[in-house]
């Protein structure tokens, strides 16, 4: 494999990993607040179709992004009402949200399967994109990919360098204490859930408007589930979410390249690679129990009501 091809694989891995970056970072914030939303796949799909409709109607990427994020938030709101206000089980509500989202997106998209979008042009950053290797790798993408990297920086900064981030994390650890300190636990969790929905929606927009760019039923093809897995894989740390997302994207691309080189391994085994690799890395990371304890929100998945 020559250097040029390796670079191409890495660039492709970033593209393939970006939907995971958005969805998993959003879910990470949700989970940090102590809420487990398994409905990422559904929110992503509804975001994808709404973003697509926005793009098709107006031709404006901004409208598409806002529509997708709004749709993801609306979906997350349903989940929030169910689990935060009505204290329904989070696992079941999340799964129901996915079923609903698959159906709703298919329904909304009935008349949009026939439309071709121009896609989102790459936006090489002047000067920087001319740097050998790093230029094409980091500075020649479309705006949604830059956005995902900025999102990473913003979330890392927010969680570990701001007071609000500290409150969010504390709330995921011990909601009772946060409540006792006078914080509105439910209100903050709502915000975290809505943020997760917006990011899942944006991940969908990236898929339907920039990556493929097209709308077809069920086009997320399990990426929402993988995003959920990546959050755990990353032990709730944003930097590891990025690593995991690109690793997953990279292995997906790599297995196609292995096939392309005619290496004689059954393609089904190659398709298993990203999943097996995720498990393997997770095991390696989890062996040290201290790291998991340190970063996983202690109240994850447990409903909280101020009165109870």
């Amino acid at each position: 494999m020559n250097g040029h091809l390796l670079l191409e694989i890495l660039v492709a891995a970033i593209g393939a990993g970006t939907p995971f970056v958005y969805a998993a970072l959003g879910e990470l914030v949700t989970e940090k607040s102590g809420v487990l939303n398994l409905g990422v796949e559904g929110m992503m799909l509804v975001g994808a179709i709404c973003g697509f409709i926005g793009m098709a109607k107006t031709g404006s990427l901004l409208v598409a992004v806002l529509a997708g994020m709004g749709a993801g938030m609306a979906m997350a709101l349903i989940f929030g009402v169910l689990t935060l206000t009505l204290m329904a089980n989070q696992v079941a509500s999340g799964l129901a949200l996915t079923i609903f989202g698959v159906g709703l997106s298919a329904f909304l998209g009935l008349t949009y399967t026939s439309i071709a979008l121009p896609g989102v042009p790459a936006l090489p950053i002047p000067w920087l994109s001319d740097i050998p290797v790093l230029g094409p790798l980091l500075f020649s993408h479309d705006i949604l990919i830059y956005g995902s990297i900025l999102l990473y920086a913003a979330i890392s900064g927010f969680l570990y360098r701001t007071r609000a981030g500290l409150i969010l994390r504390g709330l995921g650890e011990a909601p009772e204490s946060a409540h006792a300190l006078g914080y509105n636990v439910i209100g903050i969790r709502y915000l975290a859930v809505l943020f997760g929905g917006a990011m899942a929606g944006l991940a969908g927009v990236y898929l339907s408007v920039a990556y493929t760019p097209m709308w077809v039923e069920g086009m997320t093809a399990g990426r929402g589930w993988v995003s959920l897995a990546l959050v755990v894989f990353a032990t709730w740390r944003p930097s590891r979410v990025m690593l995991g997302a690109y690793l997953f994207g990279g292995i997906t691309i790599l297995q196609f390249h292995i096939q392309g080189f005619g290496i004689d391994i059954p393609s089904q085994l190659l398709s298993m690679l990203p999943y097996l690799a995720t498990i393997a890395v997770l095991v390696l990371i989890s062996r040290n129990r201290q790291t998991i304890r340190l970063h996983s929100p202690a109240s994850l998945g447990i409903p909280y009501h101020p009165q109870s």
Binding site: T113, V216, E217, F256
Partner: protein
């Protein structure tokens, strides 16, 4: 436990009770034709072509047929119920349009001896079950000629779904077509293990392009490979449907499946009581396979060659799998002057010389 039992049961009853019973009227003396689709109809692809055929039949036999389709029917036990429900609700002729419906179709056909069933791409016939399929490979061969002539890198990329004979036949025919005009041409195949996953199809197409392929074709169901080719500035040959809308510059042509005539003929045969169970395998001659309009970037002499080959396939003077054909190891699989039989075609499980890689087993 009783408590839990009751409250959900009450819910079910309530649902049922509040429902009003409505009668259904059906138009008599018209042939009711049912279609079972494996995926949503969408705008291009396998199911879309079947639905085009259904609509064409409806137009051709206006007033004499009434059609209904059920989409997104999973292969397996679900299919049996859907097919049976169609038969039970008075559909006399039922087309089941995916390979996985074969055994369910046969089971239902046994239960409804007075109804007619047609199963696409299968190999089992029964007293009231026929099968039909297009000679997709004829179109593949023709498109291979164009791909072979248009490639500068001599590398052709093929995004494929599952290693079944139908797909392998297409790969081989495409390769033979390409190498008939360009002996240097090589075909690289990537299996995505899914009929339909636009993301993966795109990633596979991108991989092929970055490994040097400059003409991309696919045997998967979405338009993603054509879109990718358009974006990367290489050529594409679409499959199932004309996808020039998605790749106006990229698409050189498309291998189209056309079922309208077959559906019309079959429904007419049932109406005229002349239907018989047959294994229909129709191609260019019957109008079941056609190339979409060839892109203006293709030189005229190539178009002329394609047209000439089309004619000779149609009149039977030429067969894409006419010897000598060698497999990858160089072994002669079809001797000089021989033509592969339909049975051999149906069982094809090796790559011909010129395909890179090996078939997953």
């Amino acid at each position: 436990m009783k408590r839990h039992v009751t409250h959900l049961f009450t819910a079910l009853c309530a649902l049922a009770c509040l429902v009003m019973v409505a009668g259904t009227a059906s138009a008599a003396d018209r042939l009711k034709v049912g279609f079972v689709y494996v995926s949503p109809i969408g705008d291009a692809g396998w199911t879309f072509q079947h639905d085009l055929g259904r609509r064409e039949m409806e137009k051709n036999l206006a007033g004499r047929v009434e059609t209904r389709y059920v989409e997104k029917v999973p292969e397996g036990p679900e299919a049996e119920r859907v097919i049976r429900d169609l038969a039970k609700s008075g559909y006399d002729l039922i087309f089941t349009t995916s390979f996985g419906y074969m055994n369910p179709t046969l089971k239902v056909a046994k239960m409804f001896p007075g109804k007619y069933f047609e199963h696409a791409t299968g190999y089992k016939l029964a007293k009231n079950v026929g099968t039909y399929m297009c000679r997709f490979y004829e179109g593949r061969y023709l498109s291979g000629i164009i791909a072979g002539r248009m490639s500068r890198t001599n590398q052709l990329g093929y995004v494929a779904a599952f290693p079944i004979p139908e797909v392998i036949r297409g790969i081989n025919a495409f390769t033979l077509g390409a190498r008939s005009v360009n002996p240097e041409a090589r075909v690289k195949v990537i299996w995505v293990n899914s009929w339909f996953d636009p993301g993966k199809e795109r990633e596979a197409a991108e991989t092929l392009i970055s490994q040097g392929a400059d003409v991309i074709t696919h045997h998967t169901d979405s338009t993603a490979p054509v879109l990718t080719a358009e974006e990367k500035g290489v050529y594409a040959i679409a499959y199932h449907s004309d996808m020039s809308k998605y790749g106006p510059r990229a698409q050189l042509t498309a291998v189209m499946h056309l079922y309208g005539k077959f559906y019309t003929d079959t429904a007419r045969a049932v109406l005229n009581h002349t239907w018989k169970p047959k294994a229909v395998w129709s191609g260019i001659r019957e109008g079941s396979i056609r190339l979409a309009p060839i892109s203006p970037v293709v030189p005229e002499e190539v178009v002329a060659l394609v047209e000439k080959t089309t004619k000779s396939i149609a009149d039977g003077s030429f067969h894409p799998f006419h010897g000598p054909i060698r497999d990858q190891a160089g072994k002669v699989v079809v001797a000089d002057g021989k033509t592969m039989s339909d049975r051999e075609l149906l069982q094809m499980n090796y790559y011909v010389d010129g395909v890179l890689g090996s078939i997953p087993r």
